[in-house]
Structures are given as structure tokens and as C-alpha cells.
């Protein structure tokens, strides 16, 4: 493996069983939450993951972080095969890999004060530090997420904080050990622009100083464009387009990416195709589609889209897309 690559994900797959049907006639169907996903993140790089609710972003992150076992596939971190590690070895790697969870209400222990929450990782992994030094680190961490003065917040319990304040504590907990990799799942969704800017700049600063590498899940395209070097677009468990941020946001090639971007950038395109794009009912991820998974909503489809699943192909300059019609699309839109 190229040693500038920190994380490599190979044909990663996760299927869940979903129960449907009536009480007497129970049916079980598979949900293909993550379906043969491949990507690499280089050291110091921030890869954004965007895509619709339920498309498999969190599931991918949980497998990468070893919080969930994959159905099949591989996860390599710094040359180590994470899927075949002993538990003791996984614990050692935990210090280097941190996750910021999607719902801060779900993940901060309600019985612990802020200071204890932030002290916990230090106690586990920085045993040599003096107590006073740890307190100093905790205070610095709290002020770095714009909760000042730290003394006013560190003795509170999570329920004494607002939603955005909790989300920031979750970020402080992830960065306090100065990890080399962070998987951030919608880390700033509850923050307003002015606070968010400070937090995003803090993460960028960590990257500059220590080469922090990130997998950054977000639904907010302006945040993605500010933070990420590359963006992967997921749809129904697959990556349908991946490439440099500027390409994804300003010259998207896949019809689904175009749809996502148009809501914020090109309202005319969005309004024109609105009926199709805003989908009634859940995206059906229960069958392995014969054709393209996006065909039920795609404004650009051709007959081949119904019979053949498109493979991901390179457009050059590390921009890849899985769509039968991308060349025509490029012509049509240029």
C-alpha cells in the first residue's frame, strides 16, 4: 500500500435484516446499507461524505471505527488490517482514531460532568500526566470550542447544556488526545454559522499542526466545500461519485450529485426537476437493483439504465463517477 495513504476501505459491505409483513406472515428482507464501498484517505487529507438520509454514511463510519462488524470487505488503517485485529490491539489503535457521533444527546454520559467526560480519555491514555496538567488540557479544550470561561461549563452535566454546546463538548472529547484520524458524523449540524466557523477552523488548525486526517460526514454543502479536499457522494449504500471538492460542487457529473448541488446552487435546475427529485416514500434499498439505483428518480435516464448497473469510471484528475450517461451529461451541461 502507498504509505501516504492512512485509511483504505475495500469492498466494504453491510447488510441488515428488516422485518416486514403481518404478525402471521413475517417476512425478512435484506437492507443493503453499505454496498461494496471503496475509498482511500491520504495522510492529512479530509474526505467528505455526502448523501441522502439513510444512504449508509454512519454505517460506513461505524465499520471504519470498528464499532460495528462488516458483512464483508476490508478496512486498512496505517497498514494494519483492522478487520482481523485482536481486541487488545484494537484498543491501542482507538487512541489514534476518534469518532464524533451524529447525536450528541445519545453519546455524552448523562451522569458525568463535562470535566469528567473530557478527563476520561486522558485517564485512559495519558496515564503519565499530573492531575493539574490534565485539568489544564481540559480547560484548553473547552475554551477551544468557544465555551468561555471554561470554569462556567466544566462542572455542568450534559442536560445543563444547550444542544450546540453538547455537540461542541463531543468535539472536544474527540480532539483532546490529538488523534491522527477522526471520523466526524455531522459534527456541526446544531451550530450556527458564527460558532461553526470557529470549530471548523480549529479542526483545520489541527490538521495543519499535526497532520490530522478526517472522514467528514455532512449534509451541508457549504461546510463540505470549506473543509474537504475530496468528496464522496453516496446513494443507497454505494459511492456514485467521488472527486476533488471543486469538481463535485462546481462540475458535478452524476445526476444525483447535480440534484444535491442544485438545491443550493442552481435553483432553476432544482425547480424544473423537483417533482422527480423529491421522492415520496423511502428509497428502496432492499433489493440489489438490476439497473442503476437512481433510475427511479433520475431526470437523465436512458433505457440502458434499467437493465445494467453502472460501474464507477474515471473521468481523469481523480474524479470518478458511476453513471451510464455521464459523457452525454457533460456535453449537455457544458
Amino acid at each position: 500500500m502507498d504509505n501516504s495513504v492512512l485509511l483504505k476501505v475495500n469492498l466494504l459491505k453491510k447488510t441488515f435484516v428488516k422485518k416486514t409483513g403481518t404478525l402471521l406472515k413475517r417476512k425478512k428482507t435484506d437492507v443493503f446499507a453499505v454496498n461494496n464501498v471503496n475509498f482511500e484517505i491520504r495522510k492529512g487529507e479530509i474526505l467528505g461524505i455526502i448523501g441522502e438520509s439513510g444512504c449508509g454514511k454512519t454505517t460506513t463510519a461505524r465499520m471504519v471505527m470498528r464499532l460495528m462488524k462488516e458483512t464483508s470487505g476490508e478496512v486498512w488503517f496505517d497498514g494494519v488490517d483492522l478487520c482481523n485485529l485482536k481486541e487488545s490491539e484494537t484498543n491501542k489503535i482507538r487512541k489514534k482514531m476518534q469518532m464524533i457521533f451524529q447525536d450528541p444527546y445519545d453519546t455524552l454520559n448523562p451522569g458525568m460532568r463535562v470535566v469528567d467526560i473530557l478527563m476520561e480519555p486522558l485517564n485512559a491514555h495519558e496515564k503519565n500526566l499530573e492531575y493539574q496538567e490534565k485539568v489544564k488540557l481540559v480547560k484548553e479544550a473547552i475554551e477551544s470550542i468557544e465555551l468561555k470561561p471554561a470554569e462556567d461549563y466544566m462542572y455542568r452535566y450534559p442536560h445543563q447544556l444547550s444542544g450546540g454546546q453538547r455537540q461542541r463538548i463531543a468535539i472536544a472529547r474527540a480532539v483532546i488526545l490529538k488523534p491522527s484520524f477522526i471520523a466526524a458524523d455531522e459534527p456541526t449540524s446544531m451550530l450556527d454559522v458564527s460558532v461553526r466557523a470557529g470549530i471548523l477552523n480549529l479542526l483545520l488548525e489541527l490538521r495543519k499542526k499535526m497532520g490530522l486526517t478526517m472522514m467528514f460526514i455532512t449534509h451541508d454543502l457549504s461546510t463540505a466545500s470549506y473543509m474537504c479536499d475530496r468528496i464522496a457522494v453516496m446513494y443507497q449504500g454505494r459511492i456514485v461519485e467521488i472527486g476533488p471538492t471543486q469538481k463535485i460542487i462546481h462540475a458535478p457529473s452524476h445526476p444525483y450529485t447535480k440534484a444535491l448541488v442544485s438545491v443550493v446552487k442552481d435553483l432553476n435546475y432544482f425547480i424544473k426537476n423537483r417533482e422527480r427529485l423529491i421522492f415520496d416514500g423511502e428509497v428502496d434499498a432492499t433489493r440489489e437493483a438490476v439497473g442503476c439505483p437512481f433510475v427511479t428518480r433520475c431526470p437523465h435516464q436512458e433505457s440502458v439504465c434499467h437493465s445494467k448497473s453502472p460501474k464507477i469510471e474515471s473521468l481523469g484528475n481523480s474524479h470518478e463517477v458511476a453513471c451510464h450517461c455521464h459523457e452525454d451529461l457533460l456535453e449537455r451541461t457544458s
Partner: protein, 322 residues
């Protein structure tokens, strides 16, 4: 148009070991029938506290210390517990900031919605199940998944379940606390057009708590802007966009990132939110306001109507005009 909810001089404080945190002070606004009001402001400025005060969900060490909240003429702050049980869900319901606050992890989402329906509406189990499936489909979730547990859903799906649940008993007023925050733009557009439709069909009133200014300006009729526990401006969306008066509102409008210009560094409003514990009498924005003068550090500006329907709390106009 008739007023559904009217909040008058509401103040809610929290006791902390350092003193009294004045999380919400002297807040007044109202919501009309069929109106969508956007309540926006920085993280920690008191939006959730306002919502919880309206619904009487504030718990010790917090307390509503002053004000009144009228829902269709009835003062909620004086209502008995049994009055409240009758009002919640059917008259007024809330979609909490975290879906996990609405959902119980040990029951299937269907059972939770069904229970709420059976408790508040006079229908049988079968009808409740049918309604539950329909509600789930409304928010873009396969109705057959009513038998799934919360942990079997993605983050955004849980949020959508919470939205479905809040609508279960056809309330007149819904308070949505950041309920579309974690959703991608397409799903968000879908959920919002759903709420908009219901609003028109059932004359539903909505308070949309959010920090997402572009979203709020694109769908709300009126906007109320909070800063550090106070309401600083309240007017129609158009008026806010064209003639925002309060220096904080203006800063907020200018701080919104611009996708077409990604090179521009995102700038925050300089300084940070003041600590609300033992906050002295002053304009709470004075530490960050480019126009602050002596009076702003000593007195609290009154929240008053500067033109019909446009309320502002700032000394600036007075100062300039006299």
C-alpha cells in the same frame, strides 16, 4: 387572522453553582393561525428554553420566573397538570432537538406512535396502526417499518419519525426544535414541503427553531431573532431581509457562507456570547456591537415596535433621532 399563541414577557432562569443563569429574559412574541414563525439565534441563546417554557417542560433547577403564555386564550403557565395532558399532542406538540429525546429505545417506533394516538384520540388499535403507517410514509419512511426499533434507523430517519410522531394527533401548533438540522438538503426539502402542505391544509401553526438562516428565510412568514436570552428583533421575513435594524441581525445576515465563493474565509461575528450567569443590566450584545456606546453598557434596551409589526431592542435609533 387570529392569534394562536402569545408569549408575554417570559423569563426563565436556571440556578447554577456560580449564580443565576438568565437563559431567557423578557421575551415577547406571538404566532398567528396558519403562520410559520422562525425562531433563530446562536447556539446557547435560549431557543430550546423558550420552547420548553411554553410547554411547561422546565425542570429544577430551572424555573419560569415571570411572564405568561396564552394558547388560544388559555394561560399555559397557570394550567393544571390534567389541563396540560389534554393540551399536549392535540393542541400543541413539540419535535425535540434530539430525536432520541422523543423516542424510547426499548419500544418499536410504531408502538410509540400508536400509544400516543390511542391515549389522545378516540380510535381503535387497527385505525391507530393504519394512521401510524401513513404518518411514516408522509415523512418518507416505508410504513412497513413501524415494527423497527429506533436503533435500526439512521439519524435522519429517527428525526423524521419524531416529526411523524408530533403530527400524530393533528395538533394546532407544532414547535419544531432544529428538527431538520441533521437532514440532507433533498430530504430537508421533502420534510419542509410536507410541513408547509399540512400548514395550508390544516391551518397548522408552526414555530421553527433553527440556526439555519437561509432555510428559515425561505419558508417562514415571520422571523424572531434571539441573542443571549433576549429577543432582539421580530418582523416579517421580507422586512428582516430588507430592513434588519438590530446590529446582531445584520451581522447574522452578513455571516452566512457563500457557496459560489468558497475561497472566502468564513468569518465569525467577532467575540463570543456573554456568560448568562449573573449578567448585569445592559444590552447583551454590547461586547460585540460595533456601534455600542455608554448607555448600552448600563441599560437594557426596550423591545419596542418601530414600525407596524417590526420590533427591535436597540438604543441606536433613539440615539440617532434625538
Amino acid at each position: 387572522m387570529s392569534t394562536v399563541l402569545s408569549v408575554e414577557n417570559l423569563s426563565t432562569f436556571f440556578k447554577t453553582d456560580k449564580g443565576i443563569a438568565k437563559a431567557v429574559e423578557n421575551v415577547s412574541f406571538s404566532v398567528d393561525e396558519g403562520e410559520m414563525l422562525g425562531l433563530i439565534g446562536e447556539s446557547g441563546c435560549g431557543k430550546t428554553t423558550v420552547a420548553q417554557s411554553i410547554l411547561r417542560l422546565i425542570e429544577y433547577p430551572g424555573k419560569v420566573v415571570a411572564g405568561s403564555v396564552y394558547l388560544n386564550g388559555k394561560n399555559l403557565l397557570k394550567a393544571t397538570d390534567s389541563d396540560l395532558t389534554g393540551l399536549r399532542w392535540r393542541e400543541i406538540s413539540v419535535i425535540p432537538q434530539s430525536a432520541m429525546n422523543a423516542l424510547n429505545p426499548v419500544y418499536t417506533v410504531g408502538d410509540q406512535i400508536i400509544e400516543a394516538i390511542l391515549l389522545h384520540d378516540n380510535v381503535n388499535k387497527k385505525e391507530a396502526v393504519e394512521r401510524t403507517k401513513k404518518l411514516l410514509e408522509l415523512v418518507g419512511i416505508d410504513g412497513e417499518r413501524w415494527k423497527s426499533y429506533p436503533h435500526e434507523f439512521s439519524g435522519g430517519m429517527k428525526q423524521r419519525v419524531a416529526i411523524a410522531m408530533a403530527l400524530a394527533c393533528n395538533p394546532k401548533l407544532v414547535i419544531s426544535d432544529e428538527s431538520t438540522t441533521g437532514l440532507d438538503v433533498l430530504t430537508q426539502a421533502q420534510v419542509i414541503s410536507l410541513i408547509k402542505n399540512l400548514q395550508k391544509k390544516m391551518n397548522l401553526s408552526v414555530i421553527l427553531i433553527s440556526h439555519d438562516l437561509p432555510m428559515v428565510t425561505s419558508i417562514c412568514d415571520r422571523i424572531a431573532i434571539m441573542y443571549a436570552g433576549n429577543l432582539v428583533e421580530w418582523a416579517s421575513t421580507e422586512e428582516i431581509l430588507k430592513n434588519a435594524e438590530h446590529p446582531y441581525s445584520k451581522a447574522l445576515l452578513n455571516a452566512t457562507p457563500d457557496l459560489s465563493n468558497p475561497e472566502r474565509e468564513v468569518t465569525s461575528i467577532p467575540g463570543s456570547v456573554p456568560n448568562l450567569v449573573n449578567i448585569p443590566t445592559c444590552c447583551r450584545f454590547h461586547t460585540r456591537c460595533p456601534y455600542a456606546f455608554d448607555r448600552c453598557r448600563q441599560e437594557t434596551p426596550e423591545f419596542k415596535e418601530i414600525k407596524p409589526g417590526h420590533y427591535v431592542a436597540c438604543f441606536l435609533e433613539e440615539e440617532q433621532n434625538g
